[in-house]
Each structure stands twice: as C-alpha cells, then as structure tokens.
C-alpha cells in the first residue's frame, strides 16, 4: 500500500502505487491526517503530492520515525467532505492569448474549448512549482495540448493555462510555457490571510465563465478565493 524510506537526514518519504489516481491520492491525504494527529510532536511539516508524501521531521531520527509509524491503518480517515471552489474565468480572446493556437491544435472551436474546460470538476491534488500553484486533475483529453515551444517571460497573475495534460492558474506574475486560455480576477494566493489559500487537497474546482465586464468588476474588488466563495 505505501512504503516509507528515509529522505536525507531529516525527512521520510512515503510512497504509494506509482500512478496518478484519485483513490491513491485519498490514501496520501488520509496518511497525512493520521501522521499529523498521532505524531504531531515529531513533524515539522508535511508536503503531499499525487502518490507520495514528504514528512520533514524534528527531534527524531528518520529510521526511528519509520519504525514508530509502522502499521498505521488508514481506514475511516476519509470522513471529511471536499469543498467545491468556484473560480470565475474570463475566456475573452484579449486575455486568452493562445485560444486560437489551442483551437488549431485540438481542432475544437473556441466555444467548445471554453465549454469543455468549464464543464469539468477538477480535483485539487497539491500545491507546487510556484507558491500557490495548484496541481489539478481531470482535464478533458480533448484539451491536451503541448506546451509552447518558447516560454513567455511574463504571464500575468491569474492567467489560466493548459500545459500538456494539465490545466492550472498562474498565482502570480511569472514566466511560463503553458497555453493561456483565459484569466481569473481572483487572488488565489493571498499573503494577507493566515493561510494563503483555503483549498485543501481533494477539494474540487469549477471554472465558471465570465465576460470582460464581469472580469473588470471583480478585478476592481480584489477578491480572494475564500471571499468570492463565501
């Protein structure tokens, strides 16, 4: 089911079956909860991913921690109901800079791209790559599209993109190679909040199309994800 191994001199990596699968991710998150509730004093922080979990330790040797956590049963740890977060996206071509390119590659009309992209409930797996960047699962295979041959040096905060088999939102201005199909006016990573994002792994994401006027209105309000969904 899972296998622990030492990861340097201060961490343990727990590895699950080698594939991206919601059920495996359920187990990853269940293990994170179990470890947090039972071994809190030894844990500096836990970093989950698709099918693995890194535990950064304090005051304990990795081998000892592995021995102590041996035989944890994950049953019944999955009681929490995931939240669904709505993220408004303006797919106007003035913001969706690569809609035409994606359309040419996928052989879908722009309206079909928008429909396919916004009709899916995406699973939030974990943050990585950039502060607040969400790894999402569930992009329709019809929308898979290779990354741009040369990355842009500046992509605006909130840009929604497709890169290979993944879709996601740039949480801050940054360089990037994904095809940009729209933009959200929300702040997804809010440093002024106690926890910069309210999303928990396993939560669901729904992109809801908005027009340019709504984009401008929401943009002026500078809402974060929690406030918009309140």
């Amino acid at each position: 089911m899972y296998r622990p191994r030492t990861f340097g001199n201060k961490a343990v990596l727990f590895e699950f079956d080698n594939r991206i699968d919601p059920e495996i991710h359920d187990q990853v998150i269940a293990l994170a909860h179990e470890l947090n509730s039972r071994f809190d004093t030894y844990i500096a922080e836990i970093i989950p991913a698709y099918n693995s979990l890194l535990v950064h330790l304090k005051q304990i040797n990795p081998e000892v921690f592995i021995a102590q956590t041996n035989g944890i049963v994950l049953e019944g740890a999955n009681h929490k109901k995931p939240m669904t977060w709505r993220i408004p996206v303006c797919y106007d071509e003035s913001l969706g800079l690569d809609l035409e390119e994606v359309s040419a590659y996928t052989k879908l009309d722009i309206s079909e791209i928008i429909q396919q992209h916004s009709n899916t409930l995406y699973r939030f797996y974990f943050n990585g790559f950039l502060p607040g960047f969400m790894y999402l699962g569930g992009l329709s295979s019809a929308l898979h599209c290779p990354r741009k041959a040369s990355p842009r040096t500046q992509i605006p905060k909130g840009a929604v993109g497709i890169g290979g088999e993944q879709t996601g939102v740039y949480p801050s201005n940054s360089p990037g190679g994904w095809n940009i199909i729209g933009q959200t006016p929300l702040t997804l990573f809010d440093l002024s909040d106690e926890s910069p994002t309210p999303m928990k792994p396993k939560d669901l994401v729904k992109f809801t199309p908005i027009d340019l006027n709504e984009f401008e209105e929401l943009n002026a309000q500078q809402l974060n994800l929690a406030k918009y969904n309140a």
């Binding site: 990861f7 922080e45 970093i47 099918n51 990573f189």
Partner: protein, 275 residues
C-alpha cells in the same frame, strides 16, 4: 539602520528559512551556507535565528545610518570599511556615516554580514528571508533601507579556523538512485564541477559521466536533493528550490553538504562520497 548604495550581484536578507508553508508551494529559502549564517549571529551576540545580509560573488556597498556592531562570515571577500581593509570573523564597531564596500570574493561564493540588534525587515510566514512573490522584493535594491535597531550585546571572539572549500562532498542515496540508467558506481568515481548555471534555487553540475533517469510522477523535493534528468544533467537543488519536481532524485545532500556545495565557485571540481 543601513542603506544599500549598490546591491552588488545578488544581495538579500536571509535567515534560517521559512518552514511550514511548503504545502502551499512556498520554498524554504534561508541562507545558502547556514553554518556561516549562524556563526555571524553568534559573533555579534544576536539571537541565532535573527536575519543577516547575504551576498554572492561581488558584494554590496552599504552606508551605516547609525552606530552598530558588525561581522563578516562565509566566503572571503575583499572588504573595506571606508579605506580600511576588514578581516572575516572579527566583530567591529562601525559609526554612523561609515561605508562598507564588499568587493569580489577571494574564496567561496556566499558571504554574510551579521549586525547586532533587532532586524525589522519584512517578516512573512515566519521568516525574513527574501523571496519572489513572498516578500515585496526578492532581493535588496539600490537605496533600500534595512531597518535594524542596534544592540550592544556581548561581542564574542572565537579563534575560528577558516576551512578551505571542500573537494569531497558527502551525499546519501535518494529515492530514485536505483533507477539510474548506466553504471551507477561512476557517480562516486567521477569528477563533477560547478557550472556557470547556478542560483539560490539550484546548481547545474557538469561531469563527463553518461547517466540518465526517467522522469517521475511529480513528487516533493527539498534543498539538497540532486536530480538527474532524462537528458543526463545533474541539478543540485539549493535553498530557494521549488517544493515539488518531476526529475529523478538520485542523491541527497545532508545539511552540511548543502553549505559546502554552496561555497564552491563555478569551475570548482569535486567528487561525491557516500556518507
């Protein structure tokens, strides 16, 4: 308080790093050479987790806006206080209006300026370490003011032996070590060198060995992880490393080794030794 007259190549406020936020994708950051950073605070009698100024290759020019006690640690830089050359590891008192000019590094890469007192630099998520999109600026810029309330703590003088840069770097095996394609034992026989492609985020290593590894399903990484790409490149992740990655994690540098590797200049040759 002090003022940055010239920021040099890459100068930033750093401390022990930012822990507890990696699940949000926020890197650890912190001083590249943690031993040298802690030593700086020790020498000026400041709490060991207080911030310092880190500089690389060519350091900053700094004007002190009030009297304070300072010390230099880490790499050896050609350093002048007004016209007087300064030595490393010796705390000294500076007076308002004096200018510290940290020129090029003679040995090593990262140097530290410790200052006795309370640093009122921007504090985000438990750390004063500067990082892009976390603090308002990723590093110190010309004319920036660094706010420090000076204290006159006990100055500590130790007889510190400056160690030469390491030519042997201790590592342990990473989770994908066994998946390396090619003669794995070459990793411990071959000569590696530091390439010019380096930053606080990572260092690309040059070597003549022909090994590679398949990509993995994106999984956590941390400072000290050495990745091997399908194209055969070795990349040592350093303090500003991303929190997850898709390359095979073939080796891991224990904390001390991260400090050692960070001080090797581009072109420096070294070997890996299994700890």
């Amino acid at each position: 308080m002090l003022k940055i007259l010239d920021p040099g190549i890459y100068t930033s406020v750093q401390d022990q790093g930012r822990f507890g936020y990696r699940k949000y994708g926020v890197p650890v950051s912190g001083a590249m050479d943690q031993d040298a950073y802690i030593l700086a605070n020790k020498l000026v009698g400041t709490p060991l987790n207080e911030a310092v100024i880190e500089f690389a290759f060519v350091g900053p020019k700094i004007e002190f806006l009030e009297d304070c006690q300072i010390v230099l640690t880490g790499a050896t830089f050609n350093t002048f206080l007004d016209d007087k050359e300064l030595s490393i590891h010796i705390p000294i008192a500076v007076t308002q209006g004096q200018v510290l000019e940290i020129k090029n590094a003679r040995e090593g890469c990262y140097g530290y300026l410790g200052i006795a007192g309370k640093w009122n630099s921007q504090f985000v998520m438990g750390s004063k370490s500067q990082y892009s999109n976390i603090t308002s600026s990723p590093r110190l810029q010309k004319n920036d003011i660094v706010k420090i309330v000076p204290s006159n703590g006990p100055i500590n003088r130790y007889d510190i032996q400056k160690e030469p840069p390491k030519t042997e770097i201790e590592v342990v095996k990473g989770p994908e070590f066994d998946q390396v394609k090619g003669e794995k034992k070459f990793i411990f026989n071959a000569e590696f060198s530091i390439s010019k492609n380096l930053s606080r985020m990572g260092i690309k290593l040059d070597s003549s060995i022909q090994l590679s590894a398949k990509e993995i399903i994106t999984s956590p990484v941390m400072p000290g992880v050495i990745q091997l790409t399908p194209g055969g490149e070795f990349i040592a992740l350093m303090r500003d490393a991303q929190t997850t990655g898709g390359y095979a994690r073939v080796l891991i540098l224990p904390d001390k080794s991260i400090n050692h590797l960070s001080q090797l200049k581009p072109g420096s040759k070294f070997t890996f030794k299994l700890a």
